[in-house]
Subunit: 260 residues, 2 copies
């Protein structure tokens, strides 16, 4: 089985809570080879005339109707209803991880509702990870729709990749609260980080959470981060996998900020 | 490639922070076919005389020395040092999930330091998941050692499987604080759950967190949980994958209890 077939299978086998469509797909037949067609017919077991929970990417949710099942394609109709709540004002800055880790982060951080993710090159990172088909094609975007569908949302975060840590820091909003996770030099626990107390008082509060690559930040990068206003924080003495640390950190700050 | 070969490969490729040994393995040669031998020679690139971070399962951490590299096996020596901190007094009760989800939970919940996990049968669960080689052999235990090694710990949680929800509830300590995650009927957010305020006042505080299967709790199970003193709580309007919800919930309660 090819990698992309595996990925398709894994997307179509997961329990999709919402079936998402791009605006350009509305009004067109859905090919039966599309994983969503298989999901509607075989997992949700919908027949002609049945409805299902549907969403328009970055638009409203509502009901889809399986109007007709043809030999090559399905005919669908839609009735849109509510617009999902906005994404949380949280930006992740992540040292480019191995592709399988990046897939998990793309999906789970989207489910958790972050507004943006920058995957950046770092001194101790592995540049070859950037050559993965995850990044050279459009595969990365499929993990966003999977994560949004799981969370019953239509909203996809902005994703940037291929820039350096320095370039990404330069693109951050001035006023954002900035925290970098660091297992080695941080003294403050993220769960009790003093910067989060000030969040609610900002007029348009924004938060940036930075995660180093597998082998950590270099000393030069720590200096750059501190110089750019980042406070170093940690998640306790237990070292977590990067994908687990991202979920843990986002959940901790969402809880502190009253967003969860 | 067989499933177990795939699992071995995935364990040996992950970045192991501590190399763990069972007490019965000490003093014996380590076969070169063992994934840990490959990890020492090819990932950590250790040569004769080099040391590495080692741990004894449920015992101390320390330094291993690669005393000799033979054609069939490695000769190792150990000098034990510190005993890792105890596990957190948190028990998970989880409606049996699909095997790949269970693998992630076994590893990540061990990394996070929970003391026990019960995987239970439920009314809306899929009984065939229990027939997976994950549970019929010893594979489940390998994910515990992987999770402990990742967290730089030697301690493995107690794991029970094959019992019903009712049997598992009957085995819980009387005094434990009990919270069941429920996306549908919970009114209280886990992040602000009132039960957690009382935790520090208990003389030997313990916490149980229960997670339903993919399709949720049945009404009869909700009645059983409430009758057994469980409060229903939720993780917000975004529906998370079970493995992500477990990490999120454990992190939230650890932070509230000052354990993170």
């Amino acid at each position: 089985m090819s990698l992309s077939a595996k990925v398709n299978q894994s997307l179509s086998c997961s329990s999709v809570n919402l079936v998402l469509f791009e605006p350009a797909e509305i009004g067109r037949p859905l090919a039966r080879s599309d994983p969503r067609a298989g999901h509607l017919l075989r997992v949700l077991r919908r027949r002609e005339g049945d409805t299902f929970d549907a969403g328009l990417v970055n638009g409203p949710r509502g009901k889809g109707t399986l109007a007709a099942i043809g030999p090559e394609a399905l005919t669908l109709a839609f009735a849109w209803d509510t617009v999902p709540p906005p994404l949380d004002p949280i930006t992740l800055l992540i040292g480019l991880p191995r592709p399988q880790t990046a897939r998990d982060i793309l999906r789970d951080a989207t489910s958790l509702g972050v507004a943006a993710m920058h995957f950046v090159t770092t001194e101790k990172g592995e540049p070859s990870y950037g050559l993965s088909t995850l990044w050279t094609g459009n595969e990365w975007r499929r993990h966003l729709t999977s994560g949004a569908a799981q969370a019953f949302s239509t909203r996809l975060p902005a994703v940037m990749h291929g820039h350096s840590l320095l370039e990404a820091i330069g693109s951050l909003p001035d006023r954002a609260i900035r925290i970098a996770l660091d297992h080695y030099e941080a003294s403050e626990a993220l769960a009790r980080c003093h910067l989060l107390d000030a969040f609610g008082e900002a007029s348009r509060p924004e938060l940036v959470l930075a995660f180093g690559p597998e082998r950590g930040w270099s000393q030069a990068e720590r200096a750059v981060l501190r110089g750019a206003g980042f406070v170093l924080a940690q998640l306790g003495s237990r070292v977590l996998r990067t994908e687990t640390a991202v979920v843990a950190a986002v959940v901790l700050v969402k809880a502190r900020l009253g967003l969860m």
